[in-house]
């Protein structure tokens, strides 16, 4: 009974609120027209955060591209420089000899220049092969600094096989006489 009375009371209070809201409600036409004008209004094409994120991404990718472009040739140059330093004497003697001749023509110089690139690459290959050989040798000859600690005077005992026949013969004297047991 009490709860029904409460419900009625709540309903009455809500209907009071509804009445007040109805009085204060904006007209439908005005709201509808404002919504329509919002629909017709040109919207901002880009979201600011989206633009910022895209710009950052493009910058990062551009930076990466520039970095990769300028770092890779540098490394190649460094390799070439080291290889060239090893064989600079040899190459220079091979290439510079004709230059010292004052009678040599420009055409011959150009031809030698054209030859310079394959010669240099060949020299680089030779240098690389030699370096690889040296490294392989070093690896093959490498010994652990603690390998001497593993060696002991009783290594022969562990490394050689035991002679089983001899041991068995020696053990026979200690075994009980089985034939005597059977007779009993």
């Amino acid at each position: 009974m009490e709860s029904i009375g409460d419900e009625k009371r709540i309903r009455a209070l809500f209907s009071e609120v509804r009445f007040a809201d109805e009085q204060a409600a904006p007209s439908f036409t005005a709201t509808w027209h404002r919504a329509q004008s919002r629909a017709l209004r040109p919207r901002r094409a880009f979201n600011l955060s989206f633009v910022t994120a895209t710009a950052l991404l493009i910058l990062a990718m551009g930076g990466l591209a520039v970095w990769s472009r300028y770092t890779q040739p540098g490394d190649m140059k460094a390799v070439a420089a080291t290889a060239a330093a090893n064989f600079s004497v040899k190459i220079s003697t091979q290439l510079d000899e004709p230059r010292e001749d004052p009678e040599i023509s420009n055409a011959a110089v150009n031809a030698q220049r054209r030859l310079r690139t394959p010669v240099r690459s060949q020299a680089l290959n030779v240098a690389r092969n030699r370096q690889a050989e040296q490294q392989a040798k070093q690896l093959a000859n490498w010994q652990s600094p603690t390998s001497s600690l593993l060696a002991s005077p009783s290594d022969n005992l562990f490394k050689s096989l035991p002679q089983l026949n001899e041991n068995a013969n020696e053990m026979k004297s200690f075994l009980p006489n089985r034939s005597n047991d059977k007779e009993k």
Binding site: E2, D6, R9, F14, S15, V17, D21, A24, T31, W32
Partner: protein, 191 residues
Amino acid sequence: MKDDPMEIAELKTELERLHSASFGWALSCCRRDRSDAEEVLQTVYLKIFEGKARFRGESSLKTWLFAVIRKTAATEYRRKLLRTLRLAPETETPPDQIATHEHPASTLERSEEQVYFQRALRTLPRRQREALHLVFYEDLSLREAADVMGVSIGSARQHYERGKRHLRESLSQMEVGYGINWGRKENPSAV
């Protein structure tokens, strides 16, 4: 929706019929903030106009419209909260507390009991407030209220019952101080 002017005209008539109820519901979803409620209602009409919100006849138009209003209000609330947190961290007050921009005159006109009632309503959890509003204010059944709230009927019933109990309790506490006869048993023999 834009391609079919007949359909939109028909819908417009229905929306006009439901406009004041929609505004009341928008007010409730926006914590009685009038300007927010108007903004939400505009956005809802815009969604319908642009065809982003489409009525497929799966429920009654009123239930569908109220569900759209509720969802839009929640989105707007989240957006407003985010904007408040991002732009003005020093004035960090949740919109829940900023809300009630009611005209002072209208507040004065109200009865004392109504003021306490509004205050008690504001203390209720959102779901309970919604359930009570939909049932008592909008005269919806619990099934329809559940559809609008996007919950099962059992859950809606629970929110409704708890809301009613909490409302009664808060009003009873208030009446102690102000002598309002809330929940008084009718006594016909009393003169």
